[in-house]
């Protein structure tokens, strides 16, 4: 039999199909598990239940309890054990149930996972992926809606990714699992059920690249994760006022691929950076600082930011105000254009 020219998706098809983001992530894990017996999925409730969001649905049934581990309720254990398994040659994919629960495992991520490669000068690799459903908008209780990605983008030795759509979810997670570096993989939980058409034979970007999603001439929106859809919606709405907005999906928060953002700013002269996280010392701060450094003479206005607030995440009856929405994004666009 001739070797296929395109890798199968693991779901046994190379045909285009409509999938949700949750399905794309599931297919990505399935695909890597099929081609590499060293890939393990581990976390609380990922086996029989299929994860609290069902993202790992069916994996334990098909790959067994030694490939898909229902672990003790223990985040430092999940990440710490994953490090040991990685040192043994496995490629663990850890699920942290909710963003706010990653902190019991923060020590292992920062003290051990991020530093193994550097400390050993490459003798020890730590190909661990930590999947984190993050962000708000689902009406949840405290600790279930946070955006801690900037904390991890600040840590040297970690790669930090955030997908925004089912197709990227499918490709980026496979690339993250294949990477020899540790990857924090932030999944916008409120977008889990949004759909898109996946053509497994189509070309795809590297997970380290940002992507220009929409062309325009008035201003640039740079964003990632759950805010990508919000920004695309805002760009559509802006056309009613005669404004054409460019939208760049950062995708990789560390390392940041600022090239497409800088190119876009050189065309539009204006940048608005959008994310759900608190603004202080965040990914949006980093983008703003570096674009002002690199594109100073192209800017017609200061870089604007639209974020959550520097408050703990509020009770869910207030989250509509906390989370940037179409109006807050367009207000920032107006303020930028007013310069």
């Amino acid at each position: 039999m001739a070797a296929p020219t395109v890798e199968t998706t693991g779901s046994g098809t190379t045909q285009p199909q409509t999938i949700t983001m949750a399905k794309g992530l599931n297919m990505a894990m399935r695909a890597t598990m099929e081609r590499d017996p060293k890939v393990l999925v581990m976390g609380e409730d990922v086996g029989k239940l299929g994860g609290v969001f069902r993202v790992t649905d069916g994996l334990q049934k098909d790959f067994g309890e030694h490939r898909v581990l229902d672990t003790p309720l223990s985040e430092s254990g999940i990440i710490g054990a994953a490090i040991g398994l990685a040192m043994r040659g496995f490629r663990p994919v850890c699920e942290i149930q909710f963003d706010g629960f990653i902190f019991p495992g923060f020590d292992q991520i920062v003290s051990q996972l991020s530093k193994m490669h550097f400390r050993s000068q490459g003798k020890v690799k730590a190909p661990v992926v930590i999947r984190v459903p993050f962000g708000g908008g689902i009406g949840a209780v405290e600790h279930h809606s946070e955006s801690p990605e900037s904390l991890f983008a600040h840590i040297a030795g970690l790669k930090v990714m955030s997908c925004s759509n089912p197709v990227d979810a499918y490709w980026m997670l496979q690339q993250a699992i294949d990477s020899d570096d540790p990857v924090l993989f932030f999944e916008p939980k409120r977008r889990y059920w949004e759909k898109a058409e996946l053509d497994p034979t189509a070309e795809h970007l590297s997970m380290g690249s940002s992507a220009l999603l929409r062309r325009g001439s008035s201003a640039t929106l740079a964003t990632y994760g759950p805010m990508v859809k919000t920004c695309l919606d805002a760009a559509n709405a802006a056309t009613e006022d005669g404004n054409e907005l460019e939208v760049v999906d950062l995708r990789s928060l560390s390392p940041l691929d600022l090239g497409p953002v800088a190119e876009s700013v050189r065309r539009t002269g204006r940048l608005i950076v959008v994310s759900e996280s608190p603004p202080e010392s965040s990914v949006t701060s980093e983008v703003a600082a570096r674009i002002q450094q690199e594109c100073f003479y192209s800017l017609e206005a200061p870089v604007m930011r639209v974020n959550g607030f520097d408050t703990p995440y509020p009770p869910s009856k207030l989250e509509e105000g906390y989370l940037p929405d179409l109006d807050r994004v367009l207000d920032a666009v107006d303020r930028s254009l007013a310069y």
Binding site: H66, T71, P72, S74, S76, G77, I79, G80, A81, A82, I83, G84, L85, A86, M87, R88, G89, F90, P104, D107, Q108, S111, Q112, K115, H117, F118, R119, S120, Q121, G122, K123, V124, K125, P127, A156, G157, K159, S179, D180, D181, G208, S254, P255, L256, D257
Partner: protein, 417 residues
């Protein structure tokens, strides 16, 4: 249910040593009574202490952990302990002379580490804390390879894959979970419970930590995971009685080895100043792990005879009497007395080992003084497996900045562009 059911056992029952009149441990500093209670705890291992060689150098038997050991092995373990102690003392001196930023003394813990280290097989894996110079010695890591960490030229120079020993772990307790994960991997690969005919067919992992670490969540999580996955991991706690200035009393109200019961695996307290007992118990525990029976906790009851590190002043928090009492239990002395009395060695052997130790110290010192400084690009190397464009840009910019100095003060050939 009557309130009596909820009465906790008295502290003296818990520990077998505490003064019942001692006040509860609520004040910030240990009271004199607590210090005395701690002194008793540190001088008595308790009835459960596994011992094969008394402090007086008398060979004693133990119903469960006796060991058949050749005279050659006895001589080798004596040599191990003398040499690693000598390297350790040289490390201390080098720090005092400004050649090392810090040194973490091993003094007093040689028997615990050599006993455990010699029980490991080449295919096993060790996950150390940062005081495990004796374990490193047993894993074939030359003491000079430890110097970079303390001189500030690297974070550990040995290859964990080649030596079967992870790099030193400084954050307390982290390694206990990493070790459990590694051991789970050994089990997943089918490397436990195989035929004993092939000594390479089974593997185990041993992780080293101190009494202070037992208060950390990671030690608990490591033990929970090891237990539920029956991971072939041996938790080797060196209870050296002090976590910097905090006595074991501040970590636990039960003897540490008893905690294993709560996780559902055996816990054993061994005389950590007795190299034979440390070897015997470690061998048994590792065999348990290799056979697929799951984890074991060993509490090696020992004593740190020097300060926590060279930055510490142990005279501020512990009594000299305590140190003097433990000097009588010196792990090397008791073996030396035994070997001489039983005529397993003569004074010529003792002198020969001492000469070898002096040679090692000289080599260790010379190596330290001749270590080259890492070139500036080392700062940026191997941060990631796939080079980060951000880090690469910072490296290039920094090297470019450095090259702007006419007299950079270091050998730039081949290092700075």
């Amino acid at each position: 249910m009557s309130p009596e059911h909820w009465t906790r056992p008295s502290r003296s029952e818990d520990r077998g040593h505490a003064d019942e009149t001692a006040p509860a441990a609520t004040s910030a500093a240990p009271t004199r009574e607590q210090v005395i209670a701690g002194l008793r705890a540190t001088s008595e291992g308790g009835a459960d202490l596994v011992q094969l060689l008394t402090p007086e150098g008398q060979r004693v038997s133990h119903p469960d952990f006796d060991i058949d050991i050749s005279e050659q092995q006895l001589r080798e373990m004596y040599r191990d302990m003398v040499l690693i102690r000598r390297a350790d003392r040289e490390g201390n001196s080098l720090q005092r002379q400004g050649q090392l930023g810090i040194w973490v003394p091993l003094l007093g813990q040689e028997a615990a580490q050599i006993g455990a280290g010699r029980a490991l097989r080449p295919q096993d894996m060790a996950f150390p804390s940062y005081r495990e110079h004796g374990v490193a010695w047993c894993r074939g890591i030359d003491p000079t390879e430890l110097l970079g960490i303390f001189r500030g030229t690297d974070h550990g120079s040995w290859d964990p894959n080649r030596t079967g020993m992870g790099l030193y772990t400084i954050v307390i307790g982290n390694q206990c979970v990493n070790a459990t994960g590694y051991a789970m991997g050994q089990k997943f690969e089918g490397m436990v419970g195989n035929s004993d005919r092939d000594p390479n067919a089974n593997e185990a992992t041993m992780t080293f930590f101190g009494d202070g670490a037992t208060s950390q969540g990671d030690v608990h999580e490591g033990m929970v995971w090891a237990s539920v996955y029956d991971a072939p991991v041996v938790f080797f706690c060196q209870n050296n009685q002090w976590a910097i200035s905090e006595p074991t009393e501040r970590q636990s109200r039960v003897p540490l080895y008893e905690r294993a019961r709560g996780y559902g695996f055996p816990g054993i307290r061994v005389d950590g100043n007795d190299v034979l007992a440390s070897l015997a118990v470690s061998k048994w525990a590792l065999d348990e792990a290799r056979s697929g029976n799951g984890p074991v906790l060993i509490e090696a009851f020992t004593y740190r005879m020097d300060a926590h590190t060279t930055s510490d002043d142990a005279t501020r928090y512990r009594m000299d009497d305590e140190l003097q009492a433990w000097k009588l239990k010196d792990p090397i002395e008791r073996l030396r007395v035994y070997l001489l009395r039983e005529q397993i060695v003569d004074q010529g052997f003792i002198d020969e080992v001492q000469n070898e130790a002096e040679e090692l110290a000289t080599r260790f010192r010379e190596f330290c003084l001749n270590m080259s400084e890492p070139p500036p690009e080392r700062m940026f190397s191997a941060v990631y497996a796939d080079e980060s464009p951000v880090v690469a840009a910072q490296r290039d910019e920094y090297l470019d900045y450095l090259s702007g100095f006419a007299d950079a003060g270091h050998d730039t050939e081949g290092s700075v562009r």
